[in-house]
């Protein structure tokens, strides 16, 4: 499925969902996209067997990892001395109240597809199936009338189609290369150490204080929200679940609900104690932004759209929210 079609389906889901049920739109993004996105990412930056990631899909050598390999080139032990300071720095106090455990947390979905995402896909599939049955009988009646006209037109259209197809292929490969080039640098393999399963408690900076527009209160929220016709932003639970899905599905971004933004969650980095820097994609264009999570400003200004507010909220939640 192409990216535009996916976005349309996501937006439709988002439009149909009330604020309290925004979950499907965001969760679907985590589980639904990998089938289309993961192979692309793997082709662009994927190490496949050459990078010791057998079973993770894709092939070819990873960007920057050099050429030819035997399949065991980087087959290391998986653990190390842990002596190199991670990019997020060291923490001095562990977060969370639970003790050490080697058991998988119940809230963590199985790798390669979350249950929530699968559930949403099934719901959508059933709806689509029902619609198809109703439309089919109408189509049968109209089809024979249209057929003759279509045969006449086909010859003319075919030539145009072939020309368009060539253009599309060129455009598509160009976009793909651009996307790979851009995202390869931020491919989740190169993400900071905290952007992994258990990310919420692995963030080495002070977190847990951010609570959306109300905590700390954003002065502009009330009138602006009324003008937008919204009562709330996406909840912390939904955003956290989307990041969990993305981590488990090896996807480097989450789709920000009610917006055209893809948030590259692994680029999130605090600037001081209340501001966060991050990269987003708007279509194929990467943009670096900065949000002040205490004042509620995006690049120094109050959000102009609900999409900007949702983006800021998502970035602040991943950076400073509780899990």
């Amino acid at each position: 499925m192409n990216r535009t079609a996916q976005r349309v389906s996501l937006l439709l889901t988002g439009v149909l969902a009330l604020p309290s049920s925004v979950t499907p739109a965001l969760a679907l993004s985590g589980a639904g996209r990998p089938s289309a996105t993961a192979p692309l990412l793997a082709r662009g930056g994927g190490g496949g067997m050459g990078s010791g990631r057998m079973g993770s899909g894709g092939g070819g050598s990873r960007l920057g990892s050099g050429g030819g390999s035997s399949g065991f080139r980087n087959a290391g032990p998986g653990l190390s001395s842990g002596s190199n300071k991670p990019s997020g720095g060291w923490s001095s106090k562990s977060k969370g109240s639970s003790g050490p455990s080697l058991e998988r947390p119940k809230a963590v979905a199985q790798p390669h597809g979350s249950s929530s995402g699968l559930g949403n896909r099934d719901i959508n599939r059933n709806q689509r199936s029902g619609d198809r049955q109703g439309v089919r009988s109408d189509n049968l009646g109209q089809r024979s009338d249209v057929r003759m006209e279509r045969i006449d037109q086909r010859g003319d259209v075919r030539t145009t189609r072939i020309e368009n197809r060539t253009d599309r292929v060129h455009d598509r490969s160009k976009v793909r290369r651009d996307r790979v080039d851009n995202r390869g640098r931020n491919y989740w393999d190169t993400y900071p150490g905290w952007a992994r399963p258990g990310w919420g408690y692995a963030r080495p900076w002070n977190s847990g204080w951010y609570g959306g527009w109300s905590s700390p209160s954003w002065g502009w929220w009330g009138p602006r929200a009324a003008a937008w016709g919204v009562a709330s932003l996406t909840t912390a639970a939904v955003i956290n679940a989307a990041v969990n899905d993305a981590v488990n599905d090896h996807v480097s971004y989450i789709v920000v609900p009610n917006s055209n933004y893809d948030l590259m969650y692994g680029t999130i980095a605090p600037v001081g104690t209340e501001v966060v820097s991050f990269e987003v994609y708007m279509g194929e264009t990467p943009i670096t932004m900065r949000a002040d999570c205490r004042r509620g400003t995006l690049n120094g200004s109050t959000p102009n759209t609900i999409g900007e507010a949702e983006l800021m909220n998502a970035a602040c939640q991943v950076a400073f929210g509780s899990v």
Binding site: N84, K93, S94, D189, G193
Partner: protein
């Protein structure tokens, strides 16, 4: 060694650095207030002090009055635990890490600790091996060399 010989050796670069010069200073990486469990017991508050020297990285776990010290070296990866009664390092049999709980365990469940610092560092030191992984287990042979590594569901095959 006579002075002329010493000068000649220095000129040829044959003089080895003194032991003091070779030894790298110990570098404190961090001190972490966290939780540990011993022999599968209940979680207890503990402090992990991580230091780095020429031999590797040493993790000193203080759990109440008990101290458990583990040393991990790279290339090849070796892990050992300090035996204070014999003043020796004993190779570990195994180690396991669960990223989603930020837990690392040594010798089965003999010592488990919540240490996101360690796992964040491992995630960046071993990007290819750890990408997309949650559970990592390592087994060592009698000499302390890794003889088996497994990931996630693959670890069910080696029990």
């Amino acid at each position: 060694m006579s002075m002329p010989l010493l000068l000649a050796a220095m000129a040829l670069g044959l003089v080895l650095p003194s032991a003091e010069a070779r030894a790298e200073p110990t570098e404190t990486l961090y001190s972490l207030e966290t939780r540990c469990s011993v022999a599968g017991g209940e979680p207890e508050p503990c402090v992990v002090e991580a230091t780095k020297d020429a031999e590797g990285t040493t993790y000193r776990h203080t759990i109440g009055e008990r101290v458990e010290t583990v040393r991990i070296s790279d290339a090849p990866v070796r892990m050992s635990v300090w035996d204070p009664s014999k003043n020796t390092w004993n190779p570990l049999n195994s180690a396991a890490a669960r990223f989603s709980t930020n837990t690392i365990c040594f010798n089965g469940r003999d010592l488990c600790v919540v240490n996101a610092n360690y796992l964040n560092s491992v995630r960046e030191e071993r990007p290819d091996a750890t990408a997309g992984r949650d559970l990592v287990q390592v087994r060592f042979d009698d000499s302390g060399r890794v003889d088996l590594t497994c990931y996630d569901d693959g670890c069910k095959e080696v029990r």
